[in-house]
Symmetry: C2
């Protein structure tokens, strides 16, 4: 009998318990052994569940029970998750987590501790909810040099943008609907400011490029400043605006890692990923572009990813997995302003002459109710920092640059 | 040093050798050991490659060399691939193949032999080219009951249909272009008659439902009878026509498995998969719908999937993987005519009265240059066999049913 402890009985934790008992028979068959959830750690009381007898409030019971071989951490947040996970790994227990904040901040450290103690640290559910992405990426990686990863990594913002694009709702209106439906938190900052997407691209980049990429190294912009004017210009020119997290390897081996609302072609496979769905594109030298699509969040999808990790660990409990990255001596992330990009720019009180003085030849965009004094265009490819200076220069003498978004070629 | 033999130096085989030597350093790092391709088996001469010294023409050299732990079978076809692979497994060598014909016909048998001899039989490249699908499906499966799999599994037919839909090319014109570009064989039957897609859905269904599904059990229809009229009606009504391979589990545990041109909504994630790309949707009870997208064929994508399998085997050469299915005592596939479906029907010389006599209330479709005597509609949900009888009855008394396609709800 393989005993498991689940730490946290929130949305994901209760989903893990539900999926485990619902599909227990096939889970045990696939794992090749009998399995049981012995403890559920939560400070709250849950007296009316069928699992009431399993609840405990003292983490040390899990830590000191040598029967517990696998610990599922689904509490979220950095503390006490980090110290709990660290202690479990040091005690020789494998850990499965859905906690992206933890993996993005402490992944390299925890992977190292796991390796030193011959156990595993798995986190399939930390990116893309139920979409299998961590292992497939690891598998793609096996025979490919990964050149770029780009994804719609946050369901809340994708829902809001979809409402703006498809129904003409303003950002504020769309956010309110998302909150009513439970897709957005009452304090939506982690989603709409891009922090959640940032953590996820950090995890993917760390895995793909074998060195830890920290959230602080990522140029992160949210969607709060996206207006219906931008959505409209994009739409009329064959683009959609999506919040894209991306990590791109440059020729010198350094990475550009950004999160920001970006224009992508309607023909892109990422363009048709709507509502709360996520999609992740992996670009490899042999494989070309591969896209993984599915529900990026939610109780059961995320729980099923956690349970899949548990089964994998149960099956291979004497094998150390090769999912791994290390702390770099020096950051492998370079200033995104040094990368080449095209910009979409919307400005008022600037004429074509001023635009072309700064940017040379550009593609002008239009929309139905375009005011006389508004101008929107897509620049030629240029160094991002140089384009920023030009945009700043354009916004002089009464002119004002209202939007400045990357145009990406997926 | 782990020695590998590659059997077959065609498109995929030469790709495997190319990817292996190009990314050898990272491949060895990921496998955790030194690796070498010791032999390449091919009856033809390849004197001008850098690997000329590795070529052999006698399979027994591979079979009897105890240094060879992994054999890559990329010859294609059933014979002699089957006897070669069988012999290798029986000699305790793990086998990696891209050969869908082999896996679809002999998968259960070879998996059994592999298990008996404590080696592995891997075939990630047999479906979806470079798209990781076999392992992710296996992983999804771990915590999910799979309810349905549906995919665009053949790049050639998808290219032809895309040309018809986007450029108004006829089937014959589109096929000719596909042949000129090397996407279609001179004898295109295996692709356009649906046999290739059929083999792939057999492999996916066998894996998802643990029992071998044979190509002969699958209701398989190709795209040769699709006309621009059908494409046009679909387009004007919010659908596209795609060649869909699907396996659906019914409440009684039996499967419906079909391959055929089908109408799917333009909003479906499968609808935007164009040209030679493939996409596979997996529907699980916890995970919801997950879609995997990428290049379904081609030298390097397929080779990279083969090499990923080789690395996985090298890494876990003492572990037997749980990818497995068995020969069923009795087929688990039921007659697709017993399933519920909606039909798209196009007929001539039949009026609305006759249509409604047979089908009751239907949705009529229209197109720009619709001739007076043509009628097209989508039926309500009904048992497929019953709808067939009604369509036959409609095609009486001078009326003629020209097209009858499934409408699928992905």
């Amino acid at each position: 009998m393989l005993n498991i402890a689940v730490m946290g009985y929130g949305v994901v934790g209760s989903g893990v318990v539900e999926v485990f008992y619902k599909n227990r028979e096939s889970i045990q068959k696939r794992a090749g052994k009998e399995m049981e959830i012995k403890y559920i750690l939560d400070l709250r009381d849950f007296e009316n569940t069928p699992y009431a007898s399993k609840f405990i409030k003292d983490f040390n019971i899990i830590l000191n029970d040598n029967d517990i071989k696998i610990v599922v951490e689904v509490m979220g947040g950095l503390n006490p998750a980090f110290s709990f996970v660290k202690s479990c790994l040091e005690k020789g227990k494998s850990v499965v987590t859905s906690n992206k904040e933890l993996v993005a901040a402490k992944g390299a450290e925890l992977l190292k501790i796991a390796r030193e103690h011959h156990v595993n640290f798995f986190f399939e559910a930390s990116v893309g909810g139920g979409i299998p992405i961590i292992r497939p990426l690891h598998q793609c990686l096996a025979a490919n040099e990964i050149k770029e990863i780009a994804g719609i990594l946050n369901g809340t913002t994708n829902y809001i943008l979809t409402k703006m694009i498809k129904e003409g709702a303003s950002f504020e209106e769309a956010l309110k609907i998302a909150q009513q439906l439970g897709y957005a938190e009452r304090n939506p900052a982690a989603d709409v400011e891009g922090h959640d997407a940032c953590r996820k691209i950090c995890i993917l980049a760390s895995l793909a490029f074998s060195k830890h990429v920290f959230p602080e190294e990522v140029d992160t912009v949210g969607i709060t400043k996206i207006t219906l004017e931008d959505v409209d210009y994009a739409d009329k020119s064959g683009y959609v605006i999506k919040l894209i997290g991306r990590a791109k390897k440059l020729d010198d081996g350094k990475l550009i890692v950004t999160v920001g609302p970006s224009l992508i072609s309607k023909h892109s496979q990422l363009a048709s990923i709507d509502d709360v769905y996520n999609g992740i594109m992996v670009r490899g030298d042999a494989i070309g572009d591969v896209v993984f699509y599915g529900k990026g969040a939610g109780k059961l999808p995320t729980a099923s990813a956690v349970v899949a990790d548990v089964i994998d660990e149960a099956k291979h409990d004497d094998t150390e997995m090769s999912l791994f990255w290390t702390l770099p001596e020096k950051s492998i992330v370079t200033d995104c302003k040094k990368g080449s990009i095209q910009y979409y720019i919307r400005a008022v009180n600037a004429g074509q002459a001023q635009v072309e003085t700064q940017f040379g030849k550009v593609d002008y965009l239009t929309r139905a109710a375009k005011p006389e004094n508004e101008i929107a265009f897509i620049t030629a490819m240029g160094e991002e920092g140089v384009l920023d200076s030009k945009a700043e220069a354009l916004g002089q003498n009464g002119a004002q640059v209202l939007s400045c978004l990357r145009v990406l070629d997926y």
